[in-house]
Amino acid sequence: MFASRLSRVGAWTVKELCKGKYKSAARMGHLYRPYSHYSQPLFKPQSETKIFQDTIFQRHNTFSTTAADNHSGEENEEEETISVSFVDKDGEEHHIRVPIGMSMLEAAHENDIELEGACEGSLACSTCHVIVMDMEYYNKLEDPTDEENDMLDLAFGLTETSRLGCQVIASPELDGMRLALPAATRNFAVDGFIPKPH
């Protein structure tokens, strides 16, 4: 629960920062860390970024208060989720439910789908590269930032509808989205969509 709430806050923060004056992807990237259960980060946040960490935790507190209010008198309130399908390297489809606000990378890992995430969502690698199989869903996503595009440059098997899984965040309009792992598309085309090498 905490992880997905933090992811939501993280997503908002990342978007705000992307619009802002901070050019360094490094500083933005490491704030958005959905892997709360992974081992300790290798480094402490730099002093400038402590401000942003405070921002995250302020938002988190806001959510907590709201949640507490909602929970009073109600039991077992379900997180809102959307339906997402992953097509893995062997062509097998995995249908999972993803809480709103969670990244596709985290969702894949929670469901044992083999999506690499070397930098754990810090925008410092391209290993969580996924291909959005339907143009309609690809267009619903916000444009990638310069920092994401820099990483996509290096992705293996890049296509016109490629995105980094750690940057695709579940929202209601993405319900029913299908994502393919790059190696999967070597074997077949889905719904007439044939990814072109970029």
């Binding site: 050019k23 081992s39 730099q46 070397a118 930098c119 754990e120 410092a124 920092e147 820099d150």
Partner: protein, 486 residues
């Protein structure tokens, strides 16, 4: 004594293994080694994998190559640590292939040996003056600021000149330029080696030239690194607008290459950007179409570099390859400087008993299976011997490139096992880890494990916390080994 201790460390994992496990030795604990080990563990549930490294510390270039101001790139060590902590995997440090143990001995001890020891040497220019003082390879300089024990005493002279020339325009060249130009206040908060930070704090270098043989369209760096260096505070970036002119061949190259297109756009924007004026101005110059012809020394400092004579180049299409190559025009230009860093590529080091292609600088192989010679004859395969990473492909690519490289090598191993091209483990059991440790104990080699690395790791983090750094690296073998004794 060492053997007894080693035996106890590993004895608990024996009970969970089958009686004749597949015994695999991976030489090299960088990304290639760890991705190979991870995929072997997954593909072969009974396999026992040992990852050997000549250093006391694991992770190869993730620790000694990735720049100190790129901590997110190092996060992958979390994944590698989980691999090393797997019951069926052991990191064995301080063991050097070629001196602690020979390749043939390893092949006797294990069913499968995968060499993933990378490229620890440098390409040479082969031009006059290359042996002058003040000329270093970028690899050595990177190892120096990253605290690699082999380069602790590099002692580059950053105080007797205001100009550094870097030959090459790839990401390593940009890393080195950035470390020379970044305000040291920012570097002080990273895991940079303290001897390097001290030297950089006293550095008089204010101008850095990044020199490439070809043009901005062919620049080998990538967008992230370029964007980062162009964004350094108070840095005046110089790019000649005339260098940005594109030929039809250039346009063709850009059309099909997203990476180059985005790099070219960044360079164009930087060329037309406003010029800053402030005191203590630092300058970064991108110099294109210049090929180093010879190094120059000054009269009063013989044997020490004082400049680089460069030949202007133009691009000509290399017939058949579709690529453009730089060709000298006979016009020369001198660049004055007091230090030169050559960032023109790494090179692998051959070892006794290992087939090696000296022209390409790699071990001859087909999809990771080592070949007995460089003729390319696919029937001459060295049984049980494989390669992965830079030793297999040459020194290019990023950390993630090894992911796919390891997949290919592991697929070759799996196929060979399935097709009976390797003896079955029951018909030919091998001593593996036990045998290796015994042999090393007989030779008095002090073997280190992943848990000794964890001690070093905690100590470095503890020392770092005293100085507001993520870690303070221990940079001599003595310091590293001392911690492991406690």
């Amino acid at each position: 004594m060492a053997f007894c201790r080693a035996k106890t460390w590993f004895s608990r994992s024996f009970s969970s293994l089958s009686s004749n496990p597949l015994r695999v030795c991976v030489v090299g604990s960088g990304p290639a080694g760890f991705y190979t080990a991870e995929k072997m563990l997954k593909a072969h549930q009974g396999a026992e994998i040992d990852i050997v490294d000549r250093l006391p510390t694991p992770f190869g270039l993730v620790r000694s190559g990735v720049a100190p101001d790129h901590p997110e790139t190092k996060i992958v060590v979390n994944q590698f640590s989980r691999v090393a902590q797997n019951d069926r995997c052991s990191f064995i440090g301080n063991v050097t292939l070629g001196s602690s143990i020979s390749l043939s001995e390893l092949r006797e001890l294990y069913h499968v040996v995968v060499l993933a020891y990378g490229a620890e040497s440098d390409r040479v220019l082969g031009i006059p003056g290359e042996d002058f003082a003040g000329i270093h390879s970028a690899r050595e300089f990177v190892w120096w600021y990253n605290g690699h024990p082999d380069c602790k005493n590099l002692d580059p002279d950053l105080k007797s000149t205001d100009t550094a020339v870097i030959l090459g325009q790839g990401n390593v060249a940009l890393d080195v330029a950035r470390i020379l130009l970044r305000p040291t206040m920012e570097l002080a908060k990273t895991d940079i080696a303290s001897h390097a930070l001290a030297a950089l704090e006293e550095s008089s270098i204010r101008k850095v030239y990044l020199v490439g043989r070809r043009g901005p369209v062919q620049a080998a760096c990538t967008a992230k690194e370029l964007r980062e260096i162009l964004g350094i505070k108070d840095l005046n970036v110089h790019i000649q607008e005339s260098d940005l002119l594109k030929s039809p061949a250039d346009e063709e190259e850009l059309k099909n290459n997203r990476i180059q297109r985005r790099v070219y756009e960044l360079l164009s924007k930087a060329a037309s950007g406003p010029s800053l004026t402030s005191s203590d101005q630092r300058e970064l110059h991108f110099v294109f179409f210049r090929k180093p012809d010879r190094f120059l020394d000054s009269g009063d400092r013989n044997g020490h570099v004082a400049g680089v004579r460069c030949e202007k180049t133009i691009l000509k299409e290399s017939v058949g390859s579709g690529k453009q190559i730089a060709v000298g025009t006979g016009q020369f230009e001198d660049l004055e400087c007091g230090i030169v860093l050559k960032s023109i590529g790494y090179k692998s080091v051959p070892i006794n008993g290992l087939p090696f292609d000296h022209h390409k600088g790699i071990v001859p192989n087909i999809q990771g299976r080592v070949l007995s010679n460089t003729t390319g004859n696919p029937t001459l395969v060295e049984e049980g011997l494989y390669v992965c990473g830079w030793l297999k492909r040459g020194p290019t690519g990023i950390i993630a490139t090894n992911l796919y490289c390891a997949e290919e090598t592991v697929a070759s191993i799996s196929e060979d096992l399935e097709q009976g091209k390797l003896p079955s483990t029951s018909s030919l059991p091998k001593p593996g880890r036990e045998g290796l440790l015994q042999l090393l104990a007989e030779r008095n080699v002090r073997v280190l494990s992943f848990s000794t690395w964890e001690k070093i790791d905690s100590e470095e983090k503890r020392l770092g916390s005293l100085r507001n750094k993520p870690r303070e690296k221990l940079t001599t073998r003595e310091e590293l080994l001392k911690v492991t004794m406690e």
